[in-house]
Symmetry: C2
Subunit: 379 residues, 2 copies
């Protein structure tokens, strides 16, 4: 038999790919996209520029960014037949199951779905990125029995999504906060859904298969589903003054506090810093300060109790507050994550295709050998 | 930073999971399901019994097998609304994109799609296994403009599928050969799509997400898509007498001969032995001997030229001949693989859930660090 090396469970600590997109130093609390600190990008860039950066490994010039924005806006509209498909979806279906199904269905509407040469793969990545907000917003209006709002190509990725979802243009703060959330979620090393996308494309499958698989992975409560958990916790605490007793009680009972701690970060999640500021500003703007105050109170208790153990708020913690203040339904939180992460998944697919080797690890077989097939009458 | 271990590309040789289902010794050409040689199962068992074996790690008694068959037959029929969905699919869509989309859509029709406790997960596995043949057969009839044939629960998994597809009951040889193909494709260690299913479910996502992802992985030409390549080769050779010149020429030009060689097997693929016999019998029964003769001639040339290098026919080689003789369209070959492998995927999902740890490897970042964000006007 060929030699085999047993890896730690979950492939923890195993380097399974190379990337030029994002760098994480969990000990120091560093996240960089192509070498640029995430906090700088969140404060000064926009989502479209960040996607350009991830896919081209350099910041665009004014001309390049304008061209890229125009290309993406050209993809806000869905292929013919997709809206009819959305209108026939069960209204009570969970949005992540819907999104997974609709992104998969895009593959049926593509006349050449399997093309994965660099140009075609990039083209499909742009299509999926452009279509995803429209799929989510249109499904949300369909399930609420509201009139479908068609995309407005004069608006940014973030602005257009909120417009299609709510039927009115977002305030500047809302658009800015939402755009920052998109930037902060775009890429994050070889997280589970990104790894899934790379494993799937390594069979030389197609962009739709890789994206669909990644959406399914992101759905899980141990991955993208975590931000819903934060909201459940916040909703479950009536007022900021109830926070200390509640959180201290949970800590004593060793219950997990959603939105705190991260398998990768043992320092403050660098994605949470600016989000906290934005969440505060949104709370002030919308007059919905109770939620921010509860969040802030939770962070204070956690800081006093467990920061020494390396447990800090993660990106989910303040993105939950942000999404809620913008008016998003709880079950759209994970689709928001997907909407942004499509850019990272696609970038990793392009990287994988540029230097591919089929992922095909081994399983250790721990059962019996040489068992006879006993005829059924003799069992 | 935490220590990281660089793994070989494609995680080759890395043990990434434990399993009690299948054991492969590629050097010796051994494949066992729960310790029983695959050739014994292909000759003496039936697909339903093999699925029972994989999911329960023991052969069933008569009573247990009858109960399991009845449960599975109860799932041949689709949930309400699925047939309407199938009837609206683009007729020119590729069946694997369709299957991926429809299995994903099953998640929207399940009132409790995310339940993954052992009982619920097994229940959903049985649903998906029972529904998959119906989804494929109904789509095939829809695209051909033929009347939909509803399942016949008096028939076996294999027999009912061929009945729904062709509108008539298969001959005994056809059903037997097709059932053997289902047995031979049910599980195969930690192949790419199975690994995909385990990676996805490790986020505690759901059975639909894991199965959808695996279908997308299987689509790839480096994985399940390989059996279509065999058929292209066979179709491309006019007559058995043209085989030697053609194959020898391909070998000289170092072109890949589809259906030969396997990353795992360096000996005769144990799944190919009995299939070869069945393919021959089918050729005799159907009077379509040219295809078998071409296959046999290719194997002869390959045996003389490259068997010494460990390159033998693999399971794809004779399954292509078998599927073609049964009358299946070329683009249904990979869906047939999926229809069987659903059982292995589901078994691995159950194993993963029983002892889960999130798959979250690392990427080696190979780009620059500490890059300043230059304002766009200064680039």
């Amino acid at each position: 038999m060929t030699t085999a090396t047993a890896a730690p469970k979950g492939l923890e600590g195993i380097v399974a790919a190379e990337t030029e997109m994002s760098f994480i130093d969990g000990e120091k609390g560093v996240l960089e996209y192509v070498g640029i600190a995430i906090d700088d990008l969140a404060r000064h860039s926009c989502f479209e520029e960040v996607v350009y950066l991830l896919w081209n490994l350099k910041l665009p010039t004014v001309t390049e960014l304008d061209a890229f924005k125009a290309e993406l806006r050209g993809r806000y509209a869905l292929p013919h037949g997709m809206l009819e498909r959305i209108k026939r979806l069960p209204k009570d279906a969970e949005p992540m199951h819907v999104l997974r199904t609709l992104v998969s269905a895009l593959g049926m509407h593509d006349p050449d779905p399997n093309a994965i040469d660099p140009k075609a793969a990039r083209h499909k990545a742009l299509n999926i990125l452009g279509h995803t907000p429209t799929l989510i917003a249109m499904f949300d209006r369909h399930r609420k029995g509201e009139e479908i709002v068609h995309p407005d190509t004069s608006l940014s990725f973030a602005g257009n999504f909120l417009y299609m979802l709510n039927g009115e243009r977002p305030t500047e703060t809302m658009e800015r906060a939402f755009d920052a959330c998109m930037i902060l979620h775009a890429d994050h090393g070889l997280n589970n859904s990104t790894f899934t996308a790379r494993v799937v494309i390594s069979t030389l499958s197609d962009m739709y298969s890789a994206m669909t698989a990644a959406i399914g992975a992101l759905r899980g409560p141990l991955h993208g589903g975590a931000n819903e958990g934060v909201m459940h916790l916040l909703n479950d605490i009536a007022s900021p003054k109830d926070v200390p007793a509640r959180i201290e009680g949970m800590l004593e009972r060793k219950e997990k506090i959603m939105g705190f701690g991260h398998r990768v970060y043992k320092a403050y999640d660098p994605r949470a810093t600016y989000l906290k500021t934005l969440a505060k500003q949104l709370a002030e703007d919308t007059g919905n300060s109770a939620l921010y105050e509860k969040s802030s109170a939770i962070e204070k208790v956690m800081e006093a109790k467990v920061a020494a153990k390396g447990i800090y708020p993660n990106v989910d913690f303040y993105s939950a507050t942000t999404y809620h203040s913008i008016g998003l339904d709880l079950d759209l939180f994970t689709p928001m994550f997907a909407m942004s992460r499509v850019s990272g998944w696609a970038g990793h697919v392009l990287e994988q295709l540029a230097d591919n080797r089929l992922y095909r690890p081994k399983a250790a077989y721990i059962g019996p050998h040489g068992v006879a097939y006993t005829p059924i009458g003799e069992r």
